[in-house]
Subunit: 308 residues, 2 copies
């Protein structure tokens, strides 16, 4: 599973970067790095492009030892086969994560992450799981875009289980919640974590992960292509910048992955903070006008919708 | 002490807002608010001005009841006269806080906060303390500005005790540390917390707080006046925007006051996040050129200096 997942995320990264680079007419910066404690990664970044203000697609394939405290935390989170009686345990992790912030305020930001984590008990037994998801963050709400995005993801889910989409859609709405603002980061998608990766069940879930990953380009590209052609005003760009500020707030204050990364000694900060937009804005007490398109967005962020 | 501190912080706010408004040639938005659970405040904000990109000066005078868990945390932090045997305890808090982000990249951002906190035990005994400080965050280092700023603050400290400046300067360098970047937020100033506010000692410290607060305008105004006259390039503005990003990172990831505020139900989010700059920027893997003025700044952020 290690090798197959590591191969898959690198292949998906390559396909996404090729497509985005083609759409933008600009090359990505390809930054391959080694992790001193074990493993490697590739961060692909496009900044200040024609279509994309900032696009980052990161893959990591890392290994090492988990301190006992981290093992205990994972066990407490439900991985009850983890052996916490000994010391540090070997781990392996691989995943792809991306955040794309388009230039045009009518084109939504998108986030995707699929990852595999594995720990080996002292007796050689492997405990492993998948996590991830994909979600959309528009500055302006286009219902047809939300429906398209959710539909493509739902189709990938439904091929594998009728429970995946409703369950993971709800998880996404709950996870990407900017509690201090009382609003979701965006209009959702799917999110899941700690899904067992062993045996037949794990094999079946890996099939699902690949279908979900493969659904990314068809779910997002038509939307960003269409919206990037629209003209926009300074006022619309301004609103997008304020929404970027909320994106920064979620990622720095609430996102578990970012917080965990920032507290980890030796973590690769630039790869973790690649998710932040190129530019953002904060104004005191800004409120969208009643009945405006800006207010329409905030309404659906406050009350998640069923899009399909 | 309640009334005298509440009066002082409102008076200091008025003096600072008047001066800043005069320098900018723009009026502040004055937003007075009531706290449903008890108390009031005034948030004064100037956005997109001539001299200041964003300036926020906030005063709050609030009261209510502290849940037992919060009382226990304060006791654990050293307030050992707090009675944790009963339930919620009445509290009173007042303070002034400000963050000023000038437009010109040669003019530094400044932060100030002085506050008084008081809890009443069931037997009527009052446990109270002061906290606060003032610190400077330039995008470009001008040693003469750093020396001036620290000197004015040191003079205010030295009037009261020769130990205040060295002790509180060190505390400031330690507190405003962006651990995940390995650099301080700025070039320091002073910071202190949990200083007892009762009896003769408390009276003497209140005298010091007022002198420290009164030192703000002479410590900062000459610097911002001088630097705001300098011309600047697009590259310099660009570097300032990247430094604004680091400011956002510190405040959202590490600042205890901000984190506490964001997690507090019913907190006034707009007043808490008034400290964020109007605009900020994040670029992947940005590194200042060796030997450049940008690199000179980063060097002193990595290793705090003695400025006086």
């Amino acid at each position: 599973m290690r090798d197959r997942m590591a191969y898959y995320v690198q292949d998906l990264q390559r396909r996404i970067v090729t497509k985005m680079s083609d759409m933008d007419g600009s090359a990505f910066l390809i930054d391959t790095w080694q992790r001193p404690e074990g493993g490697f990664g590739t961060s692909c970044v496009l900044q200040d492009g024609n279509v994309f203000e900032k696009a980052g697609v990161n893959v990591s394939v890392i290994h090492g030892h988990l301190p006992p405290q981290a093992v205990r935390q994972m066990r407490a989170r439900g991985h009850d086969r983890l052996d916490t009686r000994g010391g540090a345990l070997p781990f392996f992790a691989t995943g792809v994560s991306l955040v794309i912030h388009p230039r045009n305020p009518h084109a939504p930001t998108v986030h995707l992450n699929y990852r595999y984590f594995e720990v080996t008990n002292p007796n050689g037994e492997i405990v492993s799981w998948f996590g991830g998801g994909c979600d959309l963050t528009p500055a302006y709400l286009y219902e047809e875009d939300a429906v398209h995005f959710h539909n493509v993801i739902k189709d990938a889910c439904d091929k594998h289980s009728p429970t995946y989409y409703p369950e993971y859609k709800k998880w996404c709405d709950e996870y990407f919640y900017n509690t201090h603002r009382g609003e979701r980061r965006g209009i959702g998608g799917i999110f899941f974590d700690d899904v067992p990766a062993q045996g037949k069940q794990g094999e079946a879930f890996f099939d699902f992960i690949r279908d979900a990953g493969n659904a990314f380009l068809p779910s997002y590209v038509p939307i960003v292509k269409k919206r990037s052609k629209q003209s926009y005003s300074q006022e619309e760009k301004h609103w997008q910048q304020l929404r970027r500020g909320r994106y920064v707030e979620f990622n720095l204050v609430h996102d578990r992955g970012t917080k965990f990364g920032l507290m980890t000694p030796g973590a690769r900060i630039e790869s973790i903070l690649m998710s932040l937009p190129l530019t953002a804005r904060w104004e005191y007490g800004h409120l969208p006008l009643q009945g405006s398109p800006e207010a329409a967005l905030v309404r659906v962020l406050r009350e998640p919708q069923s899009w399909v």
